[in-house]
Symmetry: C2
Subunit: 798 residues, 2 copies
């Protein structure tokens, strides 16, 4: 199928404004009379607040509002407890602080310096409480309780996962039972068991969290925010301030990077309350250290036990994942739910048990980070599969190909999969033969054999090369909703109203392409309006790679209505039956006789007879959770991301340093609406995954953050990217996606770390099980193997 606009790498819509520095970001916004908000944060990981005295701060000239727990307790009009899933967070701490960085008080002042000074004048007396810093420890019976009473569930209808478990630090859990696990293991010829872990990591968006709030004298709240989910922000603010949603307006123009950090609700409640207290607009913008303490990626431990048949079929898998969700649930329950569902990987295993636990600790809250937990699960199931292949002497690629999901297979939820072409990704990835693993690290059953192979690989040099592959499967946010309104102007140009947010991914360009295609218009005749919750249709949020699919389908539905209206208008003029007419390049023409036609503008002119008038149509796309509601057909995900990564590395066995020689990623994008943007998404996600593989780790000492800065928390720079980065995709055409497209923003992340680990194993024959793969861990692994070899040699000698 060829298209006029779809499939072309048209220039980004926001390109010019971004390179000229004129793009509007919340961080640049300034309003008349605007004050600046600052937040006083807890210095302790867990403590009772004995007393707060803000009187000195209030007296400081230039201070216009001071917000403490007294403000919350004294204002019956506020529902000050909130949270994305569980209402476990307060606008500022009321009884306790639960992590270093927890908000204790806030100030609005005429400038940031005065606000900072005011914070230093707030006296807080704490009584320290026992704290817990790992999910394992917190999961145990002896752990101190972080939330004494189970928080209220915010989602109105039943959640699809279990909620807080009273008397524990478990705030949510998912339990999947598919097939018969006992029979599966009983039938297995081999059983493998491993445990993997990832540390807490950070999103590091270029634009920090920032919100500007302003109250209108009529009691209406307007908020500009760097958010990926404007309608969720509106929802929360309406609850907190007990306003009808029509009295809350959230505006978002450009967002300087989200990656999940700007989901849910962040600075909006505290900033809105400061604005209400001061009677002025207030802007709160975090510094970099505060960004690190606002939302993180879940660290986790992933225990997995797999039963394999002699002929290489995975026949049983038992998984238990403990996720460190930090001090507040945020979207943690959703992360452990979504990632829990896909934790057995892209493999068709008939007998599966998955237990996924979201666990409070006294650390900063964790939430989604580009992949909703899937990169953390991929980090376990892919190295685990490599180890199975190595131990049993299978080719790791062929073992995967043998077991991956194919269209028509049954997912662990019970539903039938379609429009998944991971097999095609393998074909594409391996169509040139230069990517086969070097093989040194494979088929080794004993450390001594591995060591000898590795020595051969190193060949007298300190540097060894290896290649590895990993693949992944990801679902998208379900149930969810996107609307799209198309407004055709009198001259036939069109404005798209959507709640999708431009977070740098290029969605406004790609959605304009879908609009242009659906209406047979040149692209430059389509505009995408700025996101404003007052006027754009409801949208679940710009998360989980869902925008192109959900909004795209809504656009198609709206466009179909406009098409029908245009054809009806033209049918009269052209004296033709509507079914004999079609749209072509801004004109309504007779099928097969494109000369016979009129422009949209002329058709619209007919409606008034003097000047044109407009047309408006609305479309929507909704998904229902699979089996949530009897009689409603649903799914666990309307589309599935699949992709893989191939890494070639060079490891220095003296220093443990890893050099990324080549990286090839391949994903099934369904249809590439804009090839250049697809490649941008895939390469950006890959680099993010490589940073998480090799460098990224938030470090804590008894709950105190050690490295909350971009100097000490290392993300990939231009010197860390692979020397050759090959970005590929296949277009299998999603059977329900708009022009066959599906989400592609996240799938690049997950394969990166396991592919690198696989390549390192290929090079050196050692397994790394904890991220990140630092030189120290490689050296330690090599040393451990040496020790084993010495022991084996000793034993052999003895």
């Amino acid at each position: 199928m060829t298209y006029q606009v779809i499939g072309h790498s048209v220039a980004r819509r926001d390109g010019v404004e971004k390179v000229t520095g004129l793009a509007a970001y919340t961080s640049n916004l300034s309003l008349p009379r605007m004050l600046h908000g600052k937040i006083l944060r807890s210095p302790l990981p867990h403590a009772r607040i004995v007393a707060i005295d803000a009187s000195r701060a209030r007296r400081l000239p230039g201070v216009k509002a001071v917000l403490t727990r007294d403000t919350l307790l004294g204002d019956a009009s506020l529902t000050y407890r909130y949270g994305h899933v569980l209402a476990d967070q307060a606008i500022v701490a009321v009884d306790r602080v639960r992590f270093v960085g927890d908000a204790v008080a806030a100030v609005a002042a005429v400038d940031r310096d005065v606000a900072e000074e005011a914070l230093s004048l707030i006296d807080v007396e704490y009584e320290e409480l026992p704290a817990v810093f790992t999910a394992e420890e917190s999961f145990g019976p002896a752990a101190p309780l972080i939330h004494e009473t189970p928080p209220e569930v915010q989602a109105r209808a039943a959640m699809k996962f279990d909620g807080p478990r009273p008397g524990t630090n478990i705030c949510a859990s998912l339990h999947i039972r598919h097939g018969d696990i006992d029979r599966g293991f009983a039938a297995a010829d081999f059983i493998f068991e491993d445990t993997y872990s990832t540390p807490m990591q950070a999103h590091c968006p270029l634009e920090p969290h920032v919100t500007v709030a302003d109250w209108h004298p009529s009691g209406r709240l307007t908020v500009w925010s760097s958010t990926q989910m404007p309608f969720q922000v509106r929802d929360h603010l309406a609850r907190i301030f007990r306003l009808p949603k029509s009295q809350v307006c959230v505006l978002v123009d450009n967002v300087g990077g989200g990656y999940g950090a700007k989901t849910g609700i962040r600075l909006e409640p505290i900033t809105s309350l400061l604005a209400r207290l001061s009677g002025c607009p207030v802007k709160t913008m975090l510094n970099r250290e505060e960004v690190f303490l606002t939302l993180t990626r879940h660290g986790n431990t992933f225990w997995v036990r797999t039963g394999v048949s002699r002929d290489g079929r995975l026949i049983a898998r038992h998984i238990r994942i403990l996720w460190d969700t930090g001090a507040y649930a945020d979207a943690g329950p959703i992360v452990i739910f979504k990632a829990g569902y896909t934790a057995s990987g892209p493999y068709n295993i008939p007998n599966v048990v998955i237990d996924s636990y979201c666990i409070y600790t006294n650390k900063p809250p964790a939430g989604p980070l580009r992949g909703m937990g899937v990169p953390q699960t991929t980090w376990a199931y892919e190295p685990h599969l490599d180890r199975i292949a190595a131990e049993l002497g299978f080719d790791p690629i062929e073992l995967r190909r043998q077991n991956i999901y194919r269209n028509g297979d049954t997912f662990v939820s019970g539903e039938t999969l379609h429009s998944i072409d991971l097999a095609g990704c393998f074909d594409r990835a391996l169509e040139t033969d230069d990517w086969q693993p070097l093989g040194y690290g494979r088929r080794r059953t004993s450390p001594s054999k591995a060591a000898s192979l590795e020595a051969a690989n190193t060949a007298g040099s300190s540097v060894a090369r290896g290649r590895g592959l990993a693949c992944a499967l990801k679902n998208t946010s379900t149930p969810s909703y996107s609307g799209a309104t198309l407004k055709m102007n009198e001259d036939g140009t069109v404005v798209l109203l959507t709640g999708a947010v431009e977070i740098g991914q290029g969605c406004k360009t790609a959605l304009a392409q879908i609009t242009a295609e659906a209406l047979s218009l040149p692209l430059e005749r389509v505009r995408v309006a700025t996101t404003n919750t007052d006027v754009v249709p409801f949208d679940w949020g710009t998360i989980s790679g869902r925008t192109i699919f959900h909004v795209g389908k809504a656009i198609q539905e709206a466009a179909a209505q406009l098409r029908e209206q245009l054809i009806a208008l033209a049918a009269d003029v052209l004296e033709a039956a509507p079914q004999d007419l079609e749209l072509a390049q801004g004109r309504i023409v007779a099928r097969g006789a494109p000369d016979k036609g009129i422009t949209y503008e002329d058709a619209l002119l007919r409606r008034l007879g003097i000047k044109g008038s407009g047309l408006i149509a609305h479309g929507e796309f909704r998904t229902h959770w699979y089996k949530a509601d009897p009689g409603i057909e649903g799914c666990t995900s309307p589309f599935w991301d699949v992709g893989l990564g191939l890494a070639e590395v060079e490891v220095d066995r003296d220093t443990g340093k890893v050099r990324l020689l080549r990286y090839r990623c391949v994903a099934d994008v369904g249809t590439a609406v804009n090839p250049a943007l697809c490649r941008g998404q895939l390469s950006g996600a890959t680099l993010m995954g490589l940073g998480q593989a090799l460098f990224e780790e938030m470090l804590f000492d008894n709950g105190q953050p050690i490295n909350p800065s971009l100097v000490n928390y290392k993300i990939p720079s231009s010197r860390d990217i692979p020397e050759v980065l090959e970005v590929n995709y296949i277009e299998s055409g999603h059977q329900e996606g708009p022009y066959g497209a599906k989400g592609i923003g996240e799938i690049g992340v997950a394969p990166a770390a396991p592919a690198v680990a696989s390549a390192i194993h290929d090079a050196l024959g050692v397994w790394i099980v904890d991220l990140p793969i630092t030189p120290e861990k490689i050296l330690r692994a090599l040393e451990a193997r040496e020790a084993t070899l010495r022991r084996e040699a000793g034993a052999g000698a003895g």
Copy 2:
């Protein structure tokens, strides 16, 4: 019929923001890097521009752009000629200037002082041309031609009136032929002929004309403007700058008074071009003198000849109106067309000829002023009817009642009238008997008899009292279009998207009431979004009292769709057939069993199962011109304003000063959506009409404006209003209007001047035929009568 929200005087939505000074007006808008624009204006009424040298202005520090005809002639990307109906105006004068105040050049500078100074440094050499200052003189064959070549017609399809007549100063004309005028006059028992006139008058909005324009680096133009017609502004800017309409965005929040002055296109082209030249946002705000020179109300002369039967039936009327439209057509052709159509008044006259001519002069352009020419025609046909009654000895009120249009009558266009209850207005106005004319001025056939009656009235004092009545009929803008989009939020609250502009009339309050009623919602759950041409549906403009009717009907259509969707959602839950359900106060309930129901919020929650999602629906209302298109049923106006005024005055025969003792207005509002707002509109319009009756007149000396300031151009102050002002309306229920409503913003103006004139005649027995009714004119009329009496007495003695 009783309603929940309709018919209640709820508080204005914009009340709080207006009394607290926080309401957003374009005049308050300031953008970063914004420059200030100023316009150099012609000092001569008609001249050829020989040379312009702006080099000194360009060199002045702080000047960022200078715009002269050279800019226009040197930029092939501009269509610099524009105009609401005829493209007779240029962004700045190219070949000639045509009135004192015509734009010759413009400057954008860092502040207004620098801009002013720059204007003084632009050297213009003029060659003066013969000029013409009255429509009569300009209508004649000897008048100098103001536009040498007939301007291009802007409206795309055929206009419903005649266009420019080459070789003359006539830019448009309307010619109505109804019945057989010759037979009508032949059958008449009496024939009366009179000529009346009105002067050029001014709108005097509190907020001057002001526009801010900003270009985005992508080539997109954003304009904030104090305009009543944002979509017309967008239309013109798109033509001038040759942009698709999706690349032009016009934003309007509050407008500080319009009255027709802010129709069409004003400062937007010059400001947008200054912004493009300078690369910065530019604000142009006029001073008061410039406002007077930007748009005026047409002065006119109205010749009328009426044939009357012995029994008081009006059987033939011949009218010729010459309208002074100034130097550029603007909306003049529409004014002379709309007012031409109703020029025979609210009277069912079987034989009518109307010729209405729009004529260029070397004066400021004229356009609509609250009533689209109808106040000027009423000023003629009502005094003329009073004179017929007086001469023939009829009661002037009864003569009107006998001849007014009633439902089912045939209008001069040929269509059948409905939903007109002028008769009911008479009944209401006269239901208390204290309003009968005093009678002194009536039934006088000779000046001597009149003088003796007047002497009796005066009764030794210099002060005489009189009462008078006048009525009027007004049509509304046709064909036209309004859309309305209703966006229901997840919690069942609603946002209305409309292109209607809040010009102080309270439309956003009244439209919110219609929305709330149509959706059975409490009013506070409805919000009206700010007008932004990108996102709100097309709207013809906030003119001619059309908003409540057109937008109201569009809202009803959209609401019907939402109702249907809500009921479909609830039908499942309530296990009821949709036809057994209805909406009631935010809930979908079973008819007759309101306890069985669910809230909108709960119904919407069903759609996703976790949180709510929204609904969107679009409605529209379009009118077609009567007989414009074979097969399309149309009308000359979808509704008709009818109303009347009763004035009681005291006139001092020594000074000629008129004191307004009482004024009663009555209009048929169809249904009063908001009684307080209806009264506000009627009283405001009445006061405007009284100012035009007694004070207002733009004075010129050889084309030079004499009084362009609020010191010298007098509008009514609080000391000039009637001592008793009684505002009444009847609710006849328009059969197609939303909840029976129709437009009521303009009908209060027209009866004021003729009612006052009638009362003055009642008091003194003199006829005033030229507005305004100044003390000088009264004294001159009394003197003229004295002279006639003296002549009669001399003749009698002779």
